[in-house]
Amino acid sequence: MDTQNKIEFITLYEPIHTQLSKFCRAISGNSEDGEDLLQDTILNSLEGFNKVKDKKVFKSYLYSIASNLHKMKLRRLKFRAEFNDTEINQIVDFGQNQEYLTDFKIVYEKMLSLPERMSETLILYHISDLSLEEIQKIQGGSLSGVKLRLKRGREKLLSLLNTKEQMKVALMLLTF
């Protein structure tokens, strides 16, 4: 790739660096995997940068690559993103009280356990600060679909947070 292209790439990339970084970290569950994902995204997008004719779609192009790379990794490992316990202390300010740290951990863990597309929508909108239209471009589908996923994602997250799973297990065991 020539220097001209690199300059063009970095000029387009710089304004969205923070947003993309947040997305990568949030969706990966820990900052090491997040950085790995960010770097893979940059290298992959750089490779195909020449093929992007309309530079207006650069943002959604980058996010799509990040999202696909993340999914590919999950599929390859047959793993659901698992939240790393030690990570939370690095993410959240140490000034916060212990109870809040625990809550933060629980909410984050549950958010990652949502269906892939749903948690991605929540992260893109609330953490990465993307507009609904931008999310639509990245994820495909309709605008109302994005809105619905956001609404349902939040509802589901709330219901997951308040599900008393232990009670259900006890009930199941009683049926034997």
Binding site: D103, S113, D129, L157, L158, Q166
Partner: protein, 588 residues
Amino acid sequence: MEKTFTQRDIEKFLNDFRNLSNPYKLEKVHQLLNNPDAKAKYSVKLNYKPFNFIIMTSAFILGLSALLIWSNPKKVNINEISTFQKSETVADSNFSLRKTSDLKQPAYEKTVIKTKTVLNFEAATKVAIDSTFFPEKTQELAQPGFEDPLIKKKFAIEGKKDNPVRIVTGNQPKVDNSSQEFKTESYAWSPDTIIDKSLLLLDLSDKELKAIGIVRKGVALFYHNIIEGKYDWALTNYPDLIPEEERITTFNKFFVAYVTNSQFEPEGSGNFYSSMDTLIPVVTNIQSGHIFWFTPDKSFFSLLPERYNYLSSTYKNLICLKKKYPERTFTNYLGNGVERILDPINVLNLNKEELQKIGVLIDNECVIFQTINKKYTLKICKHGTYSVGNDDDSNVFPPNPYPVIMTDTLGRRLYIEGSILNKDTVSKIMNILVPVRINLNNIVPPNQEVIICWYYPTQEFLNALPEKIGAELKSELIIVTNGSRGSSTSCNYFEVCKSSLKLDNFKLYPNPASYSVTIEFENSEEIIGSISIVNMAGLKLRVLLPNTTLLSGHNSYKMNLSGINSGIYLISVNTKKGFKTQRLIVSQ
């Protein structure tokens, strides 16, 4: 009291997350653009310089240990084996019992090997005992005070001439070719011997296979053996592709005791792992990569091509070793130097129709797992794995019936369903999950062709299983949940049920565990015992607590799990009075 979360909590979490400082510097991106090779790889980052010293030191210690052991080898003396009887090594070969299917019927099912057999367990055992391996030798060995110098001499010469076996680890006996003493010394292998699998796996041409009774033509295969007019073995794969006149029926004394895939996973039930060292694996190279495991018999070796001449003496020694040390493994089919201390976890083998009843649909492209109301689906396909359906169903526990955990055949590479991520839930249900084998032939790469799906035993799941298995599981569940045991109930499935040692309040926590696990139990009397971590195949991976006195009363041990891969394992407390096990998830 448990906290109830509100939308405000979620809002606060999302806001706080958004406001976190960015951990990734833009300068790094510039560096990356100018030098793509500088991409950070955390797995690589961790290694090398600090470890170089450790690796070098370990290598030195190992070398030194090897030298010390070499200078004082503990050999097995053939003379010590006084109770050797005819072919006992294969007496526990339980032939997988399958329904009879007519050989003349075309085999429509792809890559499925159909077995025609009139055997039951006793019959199979009898045939195994009858198919004597070097009877004259074993009979003589059986006599106490066996001192025949001629036989000793023969052993020594065979050991020297015909045995090109490279021993992977352990102490090969010192052989001085120029010395006269060699001829009078009995040839024996060290109990630490491990034979490399590449020397034992027979790769035969079509013509050579035909000599031992297997007709192979491309993906088609036909094997039919009748033993003494009584026992009828048949294994076929696309038999229609082989013309009637080319199909042969043989009357050999040796037979196929087990069929496994290329990962040495047996089809059907039986104690394969305990007898695999003394069985002879023949790679068939048909589409599904099956391996046929023949019982050892003198006549079998005489039919093999010259390049496998060494096998006869190799198996003689292997059988002697196995007799002397039945719990040890002398081959590295499953890895180096592992010891089997427990029976493998019993995995259900269901056919396509039976799998369909528990919500597993298999076609040429995908394996599909569906919940009972079909609202949530997981697809494992050639082009990837994905889930369909955003219904609450996917996070309701228990997913009904739906696998809550998926692993490979040795319990590794975990996939945990989101709804049981809660640690309390996992530890409560772990011991009653029912493993089911799912074959992913043609869908995933060959070394991942079998996955084990672990189901929560709901009433719906148990009712969907074949009647006999369902009923057995239900009665065992009653034992596991109530702790009482009826006189007529046998334990085949759950290790908690199989445990023979009485330890009260046996607990593991945390479960799933990452770096360490605490094992607690109450002991009624002082006893010497050890604690080990064992994999699904019953092979000991590590001794967590070597033989020590387990005090009467409360015992608590914190064990280090570093270096154990993510997966499902058994924690086993072994004493002279028996053992007790519980399942543990390791999630690194």
